[in-house]
Amino acid sequence: MKKTISLTVNGKVYRVEIKTTQRLLDVIRDKIGLLGTKEGCGAGECGACTVIMNGEAVNSCLVLAIKADGADILTIEGLAKEGSLHPLQKSFVEHGAIQCGFCTPGMVMSSKAFLDEHGGKKLTREKVKEGISGNLCRCTGYQKIIDAIIDYNTKSNN
């Protein structure tokens, strides 16, 4: 069964023909061509597919594309402005929070969503860990990711 959906991704409106079985992840990658968002597990466990949908972090592998009709989506590609990395991305780079990079787009999107909700004050490492607990990283051991988030948050608050 084919349907047409309309969704805003990184500020741009797309009209896309989809099959009912397709997921938001498939639309982002295969229809729109934004490859930053990754499929890790396809089951909502690893967070590699995290995007921000209508202001909240979601696993795009668990969202049927048709349910994203009318939605406002932010992917990793939407963070950089005019070729310049978002300060949160820069913080990840500066702190060595990226090794293979596969978890990074999802991790950054989760971090952003978490900071949008909780960022205006000083954060403990425990709180940050909780905030990114929906994202797995097999390379870094998480410490530098947490460093990057806390450092970015501290700098943004000053």
Partner: protein
């Protein structure tokens, strides 16, 4: 994922009619966090999906004089944020905060968690101790049943063809009520409960327990209420021997199984430990 026809009706009567028309080959999708996984694993292969997303009036949290009403499409994230969930209902927030991950909580709904009917359903024990009534829509005018009658067996509820869970309602607890929800998990996050424990205590003068309810998750085919607490807790203050008797009673009444997360023996042991801990934690709140 097997092919399916997708419908997003605008009203409960429309949705119900579609469910009746398509019978057992249809499935309801709310948030979809459980359904999508079951479909991906080919555990189920519905030929018709009825999405509730266009039906207004199912996503709400209303605290009134008579009690708290929560729509079945309310997400866990909304529950976490809601100021309508006041102190006596805090067990609901305790559970909503730990379900899945933040990403899951953004989409997972209260109705979906209940209708998926996992024995470990996170939001079930808090709702049980709060005396929740399930308000079920059907074309004959609907029905309201106590939540403890809602669950039948793992993955099975009492929902009949054409019925849709509309909301849950909990009467306003009297003053002096304290609630909590806690669970044992292997990981610190992103895990399904090995056991879930929710407790409600109503405390009167002299710190005497006037009412007590304990609900357990993941230790029986369905979430359950511990029977017989009236004799053990009501009329007593929470001395050590009372706490011990209550936790032993809870452990004795559960019917846990061995599965990939834990053994039956460990679950039974943990029920006793967590009920005890939760009672001590509540005691510290009203002491």
């Amino acid at each position: 994922m097997s092919k399916f026809k997708y419908f997003a009706p605008y009203s409960l009567p429309e949705a119900s009619a579609l469910l009746i028309k398509f019978g057992p080959e249809a499935a309801v999708i709310s948030g979809g966090t459980d359904l999508m996984i079951k479909m991906r694993n080919k555990q189920i292969a519905p030929r018709y999906i009825i999405d509730l997303r266009q039906i207004s009036g199912l996503d709400f949290i209303r605290l009134g004089d008579t009690g708290l009403s929560i729509g079945s499409r309310t997400t866990m994230a909304t529950l976490c944020r809601s100021s309508a969930i006041t102190k006596e209902y805090i067990a609901l927030k305790n559970a909503a905060r730990v379900l899945g991950s933040r990403q899951i909580r953004s989409i997972a709904t209260l109705g979906g968690n209940l209708c998926n009917a996992a024995p470990s359903a996170e939001i079930a024990p808090p709702l049980l101790i709060l005396g929740a009534q399930a308000q079920i829509y059907n074309p004959e005018g609907g029905r309201s049943i106590p939540l403890e009658q809602f669950f039948v067996s793992p993955s099975k509820t009492c929902i009949q063809q054409g019925e849709i869970l509309e909301s849950v309602f909990m009467a306003r607890p009297e003053p002096g009520v304290y609630t909590t929800y806690c669970r044992n998990t292997t990981r610190k996050a992103m895990d399904i409960a090995v056991i879930g424990v929710s407790i409600l205590l109503k405390v009167g003068k002299g710190q005497i327990i006037r009412q007590a309810k304990i609900a357990l998750g993941a230790v029986a085919p369905t979430p359950i209420l511990v029977p017989g607490l009236e004799d053990v807790l009501v009329g007593h203050s929470l001395k050590d021997n009372v706490i011990n008797r209550a936790s032993e009673l809870a452990a004795a009444c559960c019917k846990p199984i061995n599965d990939l997360r834990s053994s039956a023996e460990y679950r039974r042991e943990m029920v006793q430990v967590y009920v005890k801990r939760a009672l001590i934690e509540l005691k510290q709140q009203f002491d």
